[in-house]
């Protein structure tokens, strides 16, 4: 009795609100909501999806969707950061850890070519959550749902021991020494031009440099990076970068999107375009397969036909670009895979010339890349010598490339797969060398606008895995073609000779020459319509394909 009454003295009506189902990412505890409407304004102003609203009035007011509806936005996870009271929280992270148990590591995201700045919160060997870090030039304070929730993929399907496929077709775990010895031996048995290397979409610049050096030392020059297509154009940086810069896209007042669906390919770039549409009333014209936009846009056509019409001034949209003060043309990197890409590029360049898109004070001719490794690979000159190097390979070194067409690999080829996930390419591998994922290593990446950024290790590697460049360095030793670097600093010295821009960390090095001085292409443009480069926003690489959360999103949010 000394401590007062054991009965509650709150006899008034207690307000409570029904929780809403917003999908697999955002959990709601609506009784906590203070009706600040930050989530409503975020959804309608920045994410551009009009799902959330303020319903009712007075004390009965609540946040909701009124009809049963999931939040279908690729930026929906940001409402978790925005909500001041925890009415909207992360469903995957809920009750998994306490804030004070977490160690934060400032890193960058590699699931798309934007290079969003993130903080990886880890507890011991586990990544517990990923949060955005403010960088006004890249992702502002938002990140896409793929960036935020792909981390559970890092715990599943991991490769943790070197393995060799036995005669019975099963993999057997072996020691690093044995695995490397086998690889080195086979590498010496084939002809130099039959050695082919492919870097994956998540590779860091250091490992790509090492791979290229190793293969060059073996006498081969067939190194490429996934997604860059055959015979990529790597001579002029302006030919593969987002020259305007992500932040400066806000200043544009007309957009021509050629074969690119920024909402799916680079959600943060899309948010900038949306910003320009809202504040400058920018006109957006889109050429490509039918897709959804979250701002006003005009679907001009599906293929090169429309592009030609604009180039010849026969299309109504060509005057929109010509009359714009700061026109921006964005070409999707999906075009890289087309046979006639040079012809497409030259038509786009002729549009750019006639509309004065490239001026000393404004460069509006852009390429939007798809993968984190692409820009650095082209900076480092990962350009294969011949068009069909994979088809003629006897020794194929796959460094994390999981979207290769495995049927193209000859059946007698010896395939080494170095990577962190047992994804698609391991089915064809003869030897598996486990490497570390982006959360476990220090690696340099260049994003689509040519900004060099760095990942930092947040958690230890799993099992016996090693950093990519170290594996290649060790292999070179075993193969008797020792690479002259022993540390990250040494390898960066080497990178400096090839691409000095990859050393100026967090800086964006714009391309110096404009690509308008290229020679005329020989090929004719074919009239096949542009294809969608990415079908499923939530699953684009080995990490996101291994993620359960991303699988739930695919099942619930993408169903038509």
């Amino acid at each position: 009795m000394a401590f007062g009454s054991d009965r509650g003295r709150f006899t008034e009506m207690k307000r409570s609100v029904v929780d809403k189902n917003l999908g697999p990412l955002v959990k709601t505890v609506m009784t906590r909501c203070i009706q600040c409407t930050r989530c409503v304004r975020f959804a309608s102003e920045i994410a551009g999806t009009q799902d959330l609203g303020m319903l009712g009035r007075g004390s009965g007011e609540e946040i909701g969707t009124y009809v049963e509806k999931l939040m279908t936005s690729e930026l929906s996870g940001n409402v978790i950061d925005i909500c001041p009271v925890g009415a909207l929280t992360s469903k995957p992270f809920a009750f998994k850890a306490r804030n004070w148990e977490l160690k934060g590591t400032e890193s960058i995201d590699v699931t798309d070519a934007v290079g969003s700045n993130i903080r990886i919160d880890s507890r011991g060997p586990e990544v517990m959550r990923i949060l955005p870090r403010l960088n006004e030039d890249v992702n502002e304070e938002w990140i896409s749902d793929k960036t935020r929730f792909c981390y559970d993929g890092l715990k599943r399907q991991r490769l943790n021991d070197p393995m060799i496929r036995g005669p019975d077709g099963r993999f057997k775990a072996v020691s690093w020494r044995d695995a490397l010895a086998v690889v080195a031996e086979v590498m010496h048995q084939v002809k130099p031009e039959e050695i082919v290397g492919v870097a994956g979409k998540l590779s860091d610049a250091e490992s790509m440099m090492a791979l290229k050096d190793l293969l060059n030392k073996m006498g081969s020059n067939s190194v490429s990076c996934e997604g860059n297509g055959v015979q990529p154009q790597a001579d002029l940086r302006s030919g593969y970068l987002l020259n305007t810069g992500i932040a400066d896209l806000e200043k544009a007042d007309a957009f021509l999107l050629v074969g690119t669906q920024p909402r799916i390919e680079a959600a943060m770039v899309n948010a900038r375009i949306r910003k320009a549409v809202r504040s400058n009333f920018a006109k957006v014209g889109y050429i490509g397969p039918a897709t959804e936009f979250n701002y006003d846009s005009e679907h001009l056509g599906t293929g090169p036909q429309t592009l030609l019409e604009i180039a010849e001034g026969r299309h109504p949209f060509s005057s929109a670009i010509k009359n714009a003060k700061n026109p921006a043309i964005i070409i999707g990197a999906g075009i890289f895979e087309r046979e006639d890409k040079d012809a497409v590029f030259s038509v786009v360049e002729s549009i750019a010339k006639s509309a004065n898109v490239v001026r000393p004070d404004w460069n509006g001719l852009n390429v939007l890349l798809l993968h984190a490794a692409q820009a650095a690979a082209l900076d480092l000159g990962l350009v294969p010598e011949s068009d069909n190097s994979i088809e003629s390979a006897k020794f194929l070194y796959i460094m994390g490339a999981d979207d290769l067409n495995l049927d193209k690999i000859p059946s007698d080829a010896f395939v080494v797969y170095q990577g962190h996930h047992g994804d698609q390419s391991v089915y064809r591998a003869n030897v598996i060398l486990p490497s570390s994922a982006f959360t476990e290593k220090e690696g340099t990446y260049a994003n689509t606008e040519g900004r060099t950024q760095q990942t930092l290790p947040a958690v230890p590697t799993v099992g016996d895995a090693r950093d990519d460049w170290k594996i290649i360095r060790a292999l070179s030793e075993v193969a008797g073609v020792r690479l002259p670097y022993d540390s990250l600093l040494d390898i960066r010295e080497r990178m400096k000779m090839v691409a000095p821009n990859l050393l100026s960390m967090d800086e964006r090095e714009p391309a110096t020459f404009s690509s308008l001085i290229k020679p005329e292409p020989k090929k004719e443009m074919s009239m096949t319509p542009f294809k969608a480069a990415i079908e499923n926003f939530y699953m684009t690489d080995s990490i996101t394909r291994a993620s359960k959360i991303m699988a739930q999103c695919t099942a619930q949010l993408l169903k038509k």
Partner: protein
């Protein structure tokens, strides 16, 4: 001893207030979220009727073409009249389509205003004013009389579908308190009327209900035979002389 008694008294007072606190929450006729039912779901087709198409055009013409969304309230009102006094979710979707906004923006408006009903109401929707002046003049008794006579609860429709009783905040008639408003949806948007019956008594509201049931139109306005409009009972008692013009307005005379 004294403290206990004081606490008891306080609990009683709270008890008395608790009822009204809950009552104020149930002003609107429905929940703040939609639950699919056979007669109210998004797949139900809903269109403005032939005659109302013209009215829709007229309503839209009153607003600039780039601010179409301003028409959302008059359009919802028209939809409610057409649909027998309430707005199904498919009608909200239709309004959203017409004013070119996302449906959620229309849901927000429709849930905000308690005069938009989102569940069925009777052909005659009786709204009792529950705000202070009317309450002091006995609006609780008025409501009780109505509910008892019709045998329903608040916001419930009588079996014959003719009547429902709701509560409303002050309707600006306090000088003739207590009052009820009767929304007449019996004849669609053409025969729609929204009339005030003022100075009512528990007996008088029952009479009004019975007249409505017979299809008669009871005279609206004050129900006190001794008053004219909002004038005092038994005629004016002051300001009986001819009104004088304000003295300094006549510039010559000044």
């Amino acid at each position: 001893m004294l403290a206990r008694r004081a606490a008891q008294r306080l609990a009683e007072i709270r008890q008395a207030f608790r009822h009204s606190a809950q009552a104020s929450r149930s002003l609107s006729t429905a929940l703040n979220y939609h639950i699919d039912t056979p007669d109210n779901n998004p797949n139900m087709p809903w269109k403005f009727s032939e005659q109302n198409q013209g009215k829709v055009k007229e309503i839209l013409s009153q607003y600039p073409s780039n601010y179409k969304q301003s028409a959302v309230i008059p359009l919802l009102d028209l939809a409610q009249q057409q649909h027998g006094g309430w707005i199904p979710v498919s009608a909200m979707n239709e309004v959203a389509r017409i004013v070119e906004v996302a449906p959620i923006r229309v849901y927000e408006v429709a849930t905000f205003y308690s005069m938009f009903n989102r569940i069925t109401v009777g052909k005659y929707h009786l709204l009792v004013c529950g705000t202070t002046p009317c309450m002091i003049r006995g609006s609780r008794d008025i409501e009780d009389a109505l509910l008892k006579h019709l045998g329903v609860k608040r916001n419930e429709v009588t079996k014959d579908g003719l009547f429902s009783v709701g509560e409303m905040e002050c309707m600006g008639c306090c000088v003739n308190a207590p009052m009820i408003a009767v929304a007449d949806y019996s004849n669609g948007s053409e025969g729609y009327s929204y009339n005030y019956y003022e100075d009512v008594t528990p007996k008088r509201v029952v009479e009004i209900v019975e007249m409505l049931r017979k299809g008669e139109k009871p005279p609206h306005g004050t129900q006190n035979p001794n008053r004219i409009k909002a004038g005092p009972e038994g005629g004016n008692t002051t300001l009986l002389s001819e009104p004088q013009p304000p003295p300094c307005r006549n510039l010559e005379a000044c």
